[in-house]
Amino acid sequence: MSTPTSGTRRSNAAYRNVDRLFEDSAAQTGVIERRYTIAGRSVLMRFSGAAMLDRIGAAFAHLETVAALPIDAQPVLRINIWDSVSTGAEAPPVLGGELAGDSSGPIYYFEEDGVQAIARWNTLSVYDSVAGEAWYWAPDAAEMLSWDWASPMRMILHWWLGRDGILQVHGGAVGVPTGGVLVVGRGGSGKSTTTLSCLNGAVNTGLQYAGDDFVAIATQPAPYVHSLYGSGKLESHHLERFPNLLAAVANPIQGPNDKAVVYAERYLPGVSTAGFPLLAVVVPRVAGVRDTRVVPASKGAALAALAPSTLFQLHPPHPDALAGMASLVRQVPCFTLELGTDLEQISTSIVGLLEGL
């Protein structure tokens, strides 16, 4: 543990209380540091106490930087993470105004002078683009819903990577070191079934796993998938279909909106990847027949499957996000994956697709 000194911050920033609350908490608990490489960039996460590390650290474990860094190596992003219950810290103030028209509960959004903040889903995310620093707080690490801790800090990563033109998209990704596919689709389309099937069959196929719900995409100089989370979310029917994954599930499902979380590395060490070149976009569709088929899809259909669910789950949408996603689907072939009932065929179909590209 260590308690490094914070960098210089603007004294009159509206969010300074958030920073002060974290530092007060850190002074009490000490700081646990972890370094990760996310989208090829060095990120330092500073946890006040162990509770939040225990809760969300596993989602990033496959991206942890284990090699010794030069002593002067500076992260491009520092994220300060804490909760109130485990540390006794005061809850931070809400920044900004309440957004109207969202059905998912109270949302407060703040943007000023290079600082963005959002209070949503009972967590607070703050990102200072000038300082390269962020804060992530939850009231109680133990009470975070699985949905939240499987894909934590999405907004911070969205804001941070968006500045470099890297898009966080709603989709899963599987592949091999030489290339893989982005799996996109609306809820119920079979997106998670596809990625979880590939995880389930990885021992036999050699496919690697970059995520099941949110990944980051670079479109230049060539399409590339960056993994954000080494987790997967399973609904109860997934547990029935992929019983092998059950042993790696980290939590029981606690309610109708809750999902079980599986960490890919706990299921099969080495199966996760930090990323790969993106060779194709795949849009799954439940076909209701035995065999799985891969058929060409229009680029418009792929964009329609990718863009709306991406844009509506991130706030604010990156101004060039739609154009970026259109650029992506223009650069790679797009396919419909007609999902059959023989689940083993799903991963072998993707392997066959990759071999033919």
Partner: protein, 178 residues
């Protein structure tokens, strides 16, 4: 003689009325053809391989435009008048024996109904139809089609709603520091 004069006057009067009515129709038609529109600034759009995807960020609704619709939409976004929209479609598609004007008008009403466009009196935009290539081979005409999807609201509602906890967070930012 009186009858003849009366008849001539009647015919003349009837013709004048007809001409006035015809002129009014022409003026109305010309006015309609000169109508311009503005696209909803919250509706972001991309056209790819002959299909346009429009996403209305203000409502959570998205649309797929098929057939001749992308040609119309892109001309609309470039500031075309109704007449220019019709010309753009006739230039891009083989529209013999097709009432393009009626199709374009119907499509415009659909776009207005979904608040994707609104009429404007601003006539400062450049002609979009002029930019189309007259030498390009015309495609088989397919009526403009607008498909509407509202399932994103369902996805958003799937997000778990966290209750405000006993400490009342998010709370009013009385400590929002000055």
């Amino acid at each position: 003689m009186v009858d003849a004069i009366h008849k001539c006057t009647y015919v003349e009067t009837r013709d004048v009325r007809f001409l006035h009515a015809f002129q009014k129709l022409i003026d109305h038609e010309a006015g309609t053809r000169m109508q311009r529109y503005v696209t909803n600034p919250q509706a972001i759009h991309e056209t790819i391989d002959g299909e346009t995807i429009i996403i209305d960020l203000s409502t959570g609704t998205y649309f797929s435009l098929l057939g001749a619709a992308p040609t119309i939409w892109n001309a609309l976004a470039a500031g075309a008048t109704t007449g220019e929209l019709i010309a753009a479609v006739e230039q891009a598609y083989a529209t013999d024996a097709v009432d393009v004007g009626s199709d374009v008008e119907s499509f415009l009403r659909m776009l207005e109904g979904d608040q994707l466009i609104a009429t404007t009196s601003d006539d400062g935009a450049a002609s979009a139809a002029d930019s189309a290539s007259g030498a390009a081979k015309r495609l088989p005409y397919v009526q403009p089609k607008l498909e509407k999807y509202t399932d994103m609201q369902d996805i958003i509602m799937l997000d778990p709603v966290h209750e405000v906890d006993s400490r009342g967070w998010p709370h009013a930012a009385e400590a929002q520091a000055s």
